[in-house]
């Protein structure tokens, strides 16, 4: 049962990407896409799709929209702060690797969290071990684990927890 669901999800994701790549929903495109997605999903039947762990509740849909907005805001904000650092003649750095804790369990959620942390400049995921993430920061505000968790992880985790758990 779980495997069938997984297969269907992967198939749907691939078909979605196929239509996106082609940029059209003409009949022949869909037919070829169904065929190609089916074969690839068959080859990767042990694999999983981006939406495998997604919780299909209305709240999660709203939160994923909010998550994208929040992420874009963080991206621009932190890029500007990094730009200030790079442009200042003295290079006010205070680098270090801190340890943070995450509550996320699902693979996709953890991947998204690590990617979001890496993409916001100033923080970079170096290693993931169980519930501990090791983050390199350009400016370390506090080496304490709990304070760093609140500063780096909490913002993203709030949304991801609802979406992927």
């Amino acid at each position: 049962m779980q495997r069938t669901l997984n297969f269907i999800l992967l198939f749907a994701t691939l078909l979605f990407f196929w239509v996106w790549m082609n940029g059209s929903v003409a009949g022949d495109v869909i037919i070829v896409g169904v065929l190609a997605s089916f074969i690839i999903a068959l080859i990767f039947r042990n694999g999983s799709s981006i939406f495998s762990d997604f919780k299909p509740t209305p709240r999660a849909l709203v939160y994923s929209l909010l998550y994208i907005l929040f992420f874009l805001k963080e991206l621009v904000k932190s890029n500007l702060s990094l730009a200030a650092i790079v442009l200042s003649p003295a290079l006010p750095l205070n680098p270090g690797i801190v340890k943070v804790r995450t509550r996320l369990k699902s693979r996709m959620g953890r991947l998204l969290l690590a990617n979001s942390i890496s993409l916001t400049p100033g923080t970079l995921t170096v290693e993931m071990k169980g519930e501990w993430f090791y983050i390199h920061c350009v400016t370390v505000k506090s080496a304490d684990t709990d304070a760093a968790t609140a500063a780096i992880v909490a913002g993203f985790e709030r949304y991801l927890e609802v979406m992927y758990g």
């Binding site: 790549m21 991947l111 995921t125």
Partner: protein
């Protein structure tokens, strides 16, 4: 030793200088054409009506010069076969498996999600070979890159040889069979006009080109994959 090296280097430089002078004369005498030459003009004017492919390069590779492409695919097949053969000679029997640095969680997860999408991109590239840039060779290379991602996320992973060999032989046989059908039904070996040309710019058009290019794509992908696997299996048994 150093003196001998010196002489060798000097000779190499002399040789290169002469080749370089040749190249320089070629470059200085080169004037870009202002118009297409005879062959190119023929292709430009007749492809759309005769073959029905929007991508003229694809029309040349698959139909006008189809026999050359058959040769290329054969060369690639031989290369991958010889790589496998050379590496399987005198393989050591009892080497221990390497103890590698384990792969990080992020890469395993990401490759699991990305590999199907890379494969899908490969299929997109070779199915749309007659409309957009790309085609069988590029699509095959992209599919092999997807395999490569899987291999990187688990260096000791072993792919199914039978699957790769089956895909390779089926696509090869299908390619030849389509060529023979062209010989019977249309103008000659590997003629794509065994199916109707359709409307220029649609996905299913240009005769048998999407079909032939898909088979080439699968074959090239399987050949690259078998090269990768035979290289990655040099040390076990």
């Amino acid at each position: 030793m150093t003196g001998k090296n010196m002489i060798k280097r000097l000779l190499a430089l002399l040789l290169l200088a002469s080749i370089g002078a040749m190249f320089a004369s070629l470059l200085l005498a080169y004037v870009p054409d202002t118009d297409l030459n005879f062959t190119a003009r023929y292709y430009a004017e007749h492809t759309a009506a005769d073959i029905g492919a929007a991508n003229i390069v694809t029309a040349i590779i698959v139909t006008y010069r189809g026999l050359d492409t058959l040769g290329e695919v054969t060369v690639l097949f031989l290369a991958s076969g010889i790589v496998g053969l050379v590496l399987s000679f005198g393989r050591k029997q009892n080497t221990t498996l390497r103890n590698l640095v384990p792969v990080g969680e992020l890469l395993t997860t990401a490759s699991q999600y990305l590999a199907p999408i890379i494969m899908l991109l490969g299929v997109y590239v070779f199915v749309n070979g007659h409309l957009t840039p790309g085609g069988g060779f590029q699509g095959g290379a992209i599919i092999a890159s997807g395999m490569l991602l899987l291999l990187l996320s688990d260096p000791l992973k072993r792919f199914s040889h039978t699957l790769i060999a089956t895909v390779e032989s089926f696509s090869g046989v299908g390619y030849i069979a389509l060529g023979l059908v062209g010989l019977v039904l249309a103008g000659g070996f590997l003629d794509s006009r065994i199916l109707p040309n359709g409307v220029l710019g649609e996905l299913i058009s240009a005769g048998a080109i999407p079909l032939i290019y898909s088979l080439i794509g699968l074959k090239v992908g399987a050949e690259f994959s078998s090269m990768l696997t035979s290289l990655s299996e040099t040390e076990d048994l």
